[in-house]
Symmetry: C2
Subunit: 353 residues, 2 copies
DNA sequence: GCCTCGATTGACACCGGTGTCCGCCAGGGT
DNA sequence: ACCCTGGCGGACACCGGTGTCAATCGAGGC
């Protein structure tokens, strides 16, 4: 036994699968230099086909996979992608993660999660430290951090790839995935107007979220198609939380000319609206129609099952990952997949005459 | 301009913060060898205090942080921790992630997420490839993958640190975090029995989950304290899903001697029970008491707000991370934090006489 | 004052890849 | 036959850390 670690070419261990192959093993066995193996890995064009095939055969035989750490060290960049989010909704976060993983599958990248607090005074330096420490290849930002220009400026400065998921184009196309919240709002407005509602209410998300404005704007567009307008008194400012939905609805329902239908900016708030209606002695949908946004699990768990607008979060995540790692390529899927769609359940109906 | 990359000691860029300090910079500036700097980073005991202080001063001055990739390359191990899960509940996943991040904060580790499918025939090789590719420092497994002995055997074989979060001790203490589901079940049983219920039902999770058995066992214990027994006919096998809760409850409620209270193995199924009750024309809690398990958001969103057993998932995650990275140290917190606790809301009441 | 010994510290190789630059080679022009 | 050229492949340094082992140092023992 040598006092040092295994000998430079301990082929027995390699054959037995007890040791992972390195680029040196592959080079030695294929009878080429490690640089040439590196060329195969990196798809360098200047390689004779027979050389490439010979090396690929050895790689396949030993199940060789390059070490991301060593590669990253030489590249001065890791193969990690960060998900930076401050969205408090677990279902959103998980769906986004699943979508990102869909888009990254087989790419050799891994997903590192990094929740943050947009309100923190150290937001930018914190994220920056995270990126520089891990030399992240890129990051995906979701609302509302995705709407923060300070963060975006820092990302450009440190030269980190990034994609911002947002309601509207907040950056160049190469850095944006647009969630078309406005379209979703339109579907909600159209749905209520088509049912015959003329006096409707809206509970918005926090005004610091672009989606709040987009969903409202789209909602008004959808109503306008049928000549219905949203009265400013029938708008309550919420916070995308259950409690804020409850309070907002309590306020709207206490009005003498209370709305016959309420569009809540997300399902959580819509659940709050259902509770408020129950407390006010109103039954849904007979006395009040309610529609939410997101179509998360909660929408079908409450009573009555909630009509809502489905946001294709997972699909959005997939697109974001593909854009980030540059495989956006030929997208053959139906673009409609990326658009919100209406899910009519039992919480909406025509108003009582 | 040299054709090569920046000169070995471009101090101007360093001072200006345009270049991150490396161990070489610190060594040169402190007037020691890089190995000595390495000793400071790794808290080597054989270092004269004044040497250490001198180097620490330089490190602080330049905000130096060692490169995890380079360190990992030399250590043959990354500073990444994997979360391997197949739990479909988003809230569980997110809470677990948050807990893990709590426990990892400041440790220099990062969290990489890896959902998997326990039913897949390539489960073990897939996880193995993930670990070996990234040379993960360690992984945290949650139910139900945490209960898979094939996966555990592989982890021991590859020499990856791991912690299994499970209902019962499935491994040595060093590799286990026990969630005390039995205690949670006991609280549910005791609660219903104390309210006066004598004919109770239970909807279990999948029998492949240990938690299903533990929650049931504890439930029976709690009932037994008050002389109540759980009749086998009043047990339905569910799948921890809303639909399965709906179906299980429909079955139980159709019985001539239907139970006056139902304990559902988790909140999702409890939500299903509420729907089934409504369809059967029973009101909760007057005609039927319902209690769930988890205390996820959904519990307080449904109507009536659900009595349930709170599982301290985030806290469990923190403990798992601390155990994994060996900082379990002096745990001054109240151990009761790790125990499930009863949350009585409005879905349980005394049975009608 | 000289020697021994444990505590410190440093020189150098190495982890597993990539960038740079140079040499070799065959083929085409003259 | 000679030179030039471009394609191909290799030698070597380097990315930023750590392991090994030897050198150095100061103090205590004689």
């Amino acid at each position: 036994m040598s006092p040092r670690t295994p000998k430079p070419s301990d082929d027995a261990a390699l054959e037995g699968g007890r040791r992972r192959a390195t680029i040196n093993d592959i080079a030695r066995i294929a009878g080429v230099s490690k640089k040439t193996v590196s060329r195969v890995i990196n798809r360098s064009p200047s390689l004779r086909p027979e050389t490439r095939e010979k090396i690929e055969a050895v790689i396949a035989r030993y199940g060789y996979a390059p070490d991301p750490q060593a590669r990253g060290l030489a590249f001065r960049r890791s193969f990690l992608i960060g998900l930076i989010y401050d969205n408090p909704n677990p279902q959103y976060v998980v769906n986004m993660q699943l979508g990102l993983l869909d888009g990254m599958r087989g790419s050799g990248f891994e997903l590192v999660v990094h929740p943050c607090d947009r309100g923190s005074t150290t937001l930018v330096p914190d994220i920056r430290a995270f990126i520089e420490r891990q030399k992240l290849f890129g990051v995906v930002l979701t609302p509302s951090v995705s709407e923060d220009e300070g963060v975006a400026a820092m990302l450009r400065e440190v030269g980190c790839e990034y994609v911002r998921v947002a309601s509207v184009a907040v950056d160049e196309a190469a850095h944006s995935i647009i969630t078309q919240d406005r379209h979703g709002g339109l579907l909600a407005g159209r749905h209520l107007a088509e049912l015959g509602h003329r006096r409707v209410g809206f509970i918005s998300g926090p005004l610091t979220f672009r989606s709040s404005h987009e969903r409202r704007g789209g909602f008004e567009d959808g109503l306008a198609e049928h000549g219905v307008t949203l009265s400013p008194e029938h708008v309550a400012e919420g916070a995308y939380t259950f409690e804020s939905g409850l309070e907002g609805a309590a306020k709207l329902l206490a009005m003498p000319d209370r709305p016959t239908a309420i569009f809540a900016g997300n399902d959580e708030m819509a659940a709050g609206v259902l509770h408020a209606a129950r407390k006010a002695g109103l039954s849904v949908p007979e006395d009040l129609s309610v529609i939410g946004f997101d179509d998360f699990q909660i929408a079908s768990r409450v009573w009555p099952p909630l009509s809502t607008v489905r946001a294709p979060t997972r699909e959005i995540g997939r697109l974001a990952a593909e854009k980030l790692i540059g495989q956006a390529g030929d997208d053959k899927r139906d673009p409609a997949d990326r658009l919100p769609s209406l899910v009519a359940r039992d919480s909406t109906a025509a108003p009582k005459p």
